[in-house]
Amino acid sequence: MRHWRHPIALAAISLLLALVCTPAVAHSGSMRGGFGGGFAHPLFGPDHVVAMVAVGLWGAFLGPSAIWLLPIVFPLVMAFGGVIGILGVPLPGIEIGIALSAIVLGLMVLLAARPPLAVAAALVGAFAIFHGYAHGAELPPGADAVAYSVGLVVATGLLHLTGIAFGQLARWPAGRMAVRAAGGVIALAGVAFLAAAR
């Protein structure tokens, strides 16, 4: 009976985090400034949501060191992408890059791929630039800089934690199937985003 407690607790935490992070309805570019605006921005784009969750899910397959490395690498590189976006430096294929991030990261989860940690970090970091650029470029002009940035980063981190929490189900055979299936769904969603971006 005791070994049932962990998956149930993990599933409950995943559900709670998913409920907090669910309202995804595509880029509108019209979010208000402040913490709420920054917090809502990653959540108001399903392409961002699935990619962030995929980062957490993949971390669970890659092992304990990846669970902490990927959520650390992503915000730092995303900030670099955000700086490029804020400064208006042209970067082609942003939406395509974001859609590809969902496809590739979803496939990594689906296939339970375990490349060297440096390769995984480089891949996640490369996609983080596209996500950060989109956040930076779509920043409302009147936003409170500090509150907006903190909201943006915290929401991104919570999406990662959602993926990590759900990914912990991979410790059990049935949970592993569920996590890999979630990767497949994310990859399919990425294909839809790619079709819409072209």
Binding site: I67, W68, P71, I72, V73, P75, L76, M78, A79, F80, G82, V83, I86, L87, G88, G136, L139, A143, D144, A145, V146, A147, Y148, S149, V150, L152, V153, V154, G157
Partner: protein, 171 residues
């Protein structure tokens, strides 16, 4: 008395100051030598607040504070032991920047001074509390959490610096 209390809560209500204190406190709590950076911060903060009391002009204090926050966040994420002089220097830079970025809104001289004293005590109190809390986080997953928070703080500070630059607000 209200001027003192408004100063006391000042570091908590200014997001950039709170971010800096969180990043610095977590970083100091991650290190073996905690006293030198804490003393360095308090001394530099007192110097910054004194300069404000002596009506120093506009400075780049906020930008320096954000840069110090970003650096502290990156160092937190790396989770490596730092030389004491480096953590003390970073704490001192953050302290003086925080002090210079805390001009009181009070009209009378007495109220302004009370606000500055409150700000100094409030900032030191927050830093000591965060440092003590961080020092107690010894389990592996707690240390990982601190690293992740460090990367969030660094990312937030970097984005704010870019925004300030793009809007022409940087000193």
């Amino acid at each position: 008395m209200s001027a003192f209390f408004s100063g006391l809560v000042h570091p908590l209500v200014i997001p950039a100051h709170l971010l800096a204190l969180l990043a610095l406190g977590l970083l100091i709590g991650q290190q073996r030598a905690m006293l030198p950076p804490l003393v360095g911060f308090a001394t530099a903060l007192a110097a910054g607040l004194t300069a404000i009391a002596l009506a120093i002009g506009e400075t780049a204090a906020l930008d320096v504070l954000l840069a110090a926050t970003a650096l502290a966040g990156v160092l937190l994420a790396l989770a490596k032991p730092l030389p004491t002089f480096l953590s003390t220097a970073l704490a001192a830079i953050a302290g003086i920047a925080l002090g210079l970025d805390s001009p009181p809104e009070a009209i009378s001289l007495a109220a302004a001074n009370a606000t500055l004293v409150g700000t100094g005590l409030g900032a030191c109190l927050v830093l000591v509390l965060v440092t003590a809390a961080a020092h107690c986080l010894t389990r592996w997953w707690q240390r990982i959490g601190v690293c992740i928070v460090g990367s969030w703080l660094a990312a937030g500070a970097i984005l704010v610096l870019a925004l300030r630059f793009a809007r022409g607000l940087m000193f």
